[in-house]
Amino acid sequence: MSRRVIHPWPLRLTHWLNAVAMVIMIGSGWQIYNASPLFGFTFPFGLGQWLGAGIAWHLAGMWLLVLNGLIYVVWSLVSGHYKKLFPIRPREVWGDLRSALSLHLKHDKGVYNAVQKLLYAGVLLAGVVAVLSGLSIWKPVQLWFLCDLFGGYFIARYVHFFAMMGICLFILIHLLLVALVPKVLPPMITGGRLP
């Protein structure tokens, strides 16, 4: 029997720490958004009950998000895990998407299909944009070069919002797929075994 795991422990650890960070950052972010909405709606709930507590959670949670994210990126580069995400070929994405939507996509343990690759690379990019735009909202004067990159403080708030929405969309699809193929969940906890 093979001793190779589907998900190595650094991946599992950073995945679940990131899940905690997501709950804190999105929950408190909604609380902060509600204090001065960018659009004609507010979120039905937010972490912290009022703006001050929401900000306190957001600025505490950012350390978990960023440090955990850096650990993931470094581990991914050193271990070669990142190679599983690439290349992303549009033709394969289209093919896998069609078979996934008709519920005919085969799930091979330990292999990312093209749709997964696109989603994972996409949410990583959204995460980087969320962190950088968030830093430029927090420190528009000291980190002016970052803020300028996003077109200034005013636009950076919108960029931050849409990065969050992109991550929320990913989480929605991610949870839906886990619900449809529940056998993928235990290996993310135990590591699983490759056949």
Binding site: V20, L47, Q49, W63, Q142, W144
Partner: protein, 236 residues
């Protein structure tokens, strides 16, 4: 104040209860685990921001046609309750580690060299406005009255009961001014008459209005919102 504080602690405890399943202490004297964690992280963020602060980095300035009109009023009370200070008898009091604590009248403040700026005012809520302020650079004023600029904090008390404090490095940044004029005319009551702090390197609530006392100290003075949970440094 007591009511607000317990409201905050209750709010923080409620916020913490969701993810941590923690207890919900309502006694302000006994903050729960989540409150302590958030306060510790906020203190850490104060230190990070102080390290990030570069006194030579200036807040962006804007053109006159970019000024937000009409200006936006904001306070912890409605606009008609803004304090009206008698400008004829007004005296700015000085306290703490300052050699010459003689109070300053408005005429004396106006006789000092004035600096004008068109800068962005960013509220902790997220919105921003652009305005034009002019007045006495705080660093210049502090040196003139013989303030000990090696102290950590500059604190301000206001006519409406508001209070706040800033770090000395930010107080000495050249764009930090004791504003006397707003949009080319003397400050009006809702916008902080007769003297307000204008510090474009910090969030809006760190710009106290209708200041009646300035003190220099090494004892952490806190602030009206800071004591309720807003991050103290709150630098931009």
């Amino acid at each position: 104040m007591i009511e607000r504080r317990s409201l905050l602690l209750r709010a923080m405890a409620l916020g913490a209860a969701a993810p941590l399943g923690g207890c919900n202490y309502e006694d302000p004297a006994h903050p729960d685990l989540a409150d302590k964690f958030l306060h510790a992280m906020s203190a850490w963020n104060d230190r990070v921001q102080a390290a990030l602060f570069d006194p030579h980095t200036l807040a962006p300035t804007f053109r006159p046609d970019q000024i937000t009109r009409p200006p936006r009023f904001n306070a912890f009370y409605p606009i008609d309750q803004a304090p009206v200070v008698d400008e004829a008898t007004y005296k700015l009091e000085l306290g703490g580690q300052i050699q010459d604590k003689t109070p300053w009248s408005l005429q004396q403040l106006r006789a000092l060299p004035q600096e004008s700026q068109i800068t962005r005012f960013v509220c902790v809520e997220g919105w921003r406005v652009i305005g034009q302020w002019s007045g006495v650079p705080l660093g210049r004023f502090l040196r003139q009255v013989g303030a000990d600029t090696t102290c950590k904090y500059v604190s301000m008390k206001c006519a409406d009961g508001y209070y706040s404090s800033i770090d000395m490095a930010s107080a000495l940044q050249p764009q930090t001014i004791l504003a006397l004029d707003f949009l080319g005319a003397p400050l009006t009551a809702p916008f902080g008459a007769p003297v307000r702090l204008r510090i474009p390197t910090k969030l809006g609530f760190k710009n106290p209005k209708s200041i009646i006392q300035i003190a220099v100290t090494n004892v952490y003075p806190g602030g009206y919102w800071e004591d309720q949970g807003y991050n103290w440094f709150s630098g931009s």
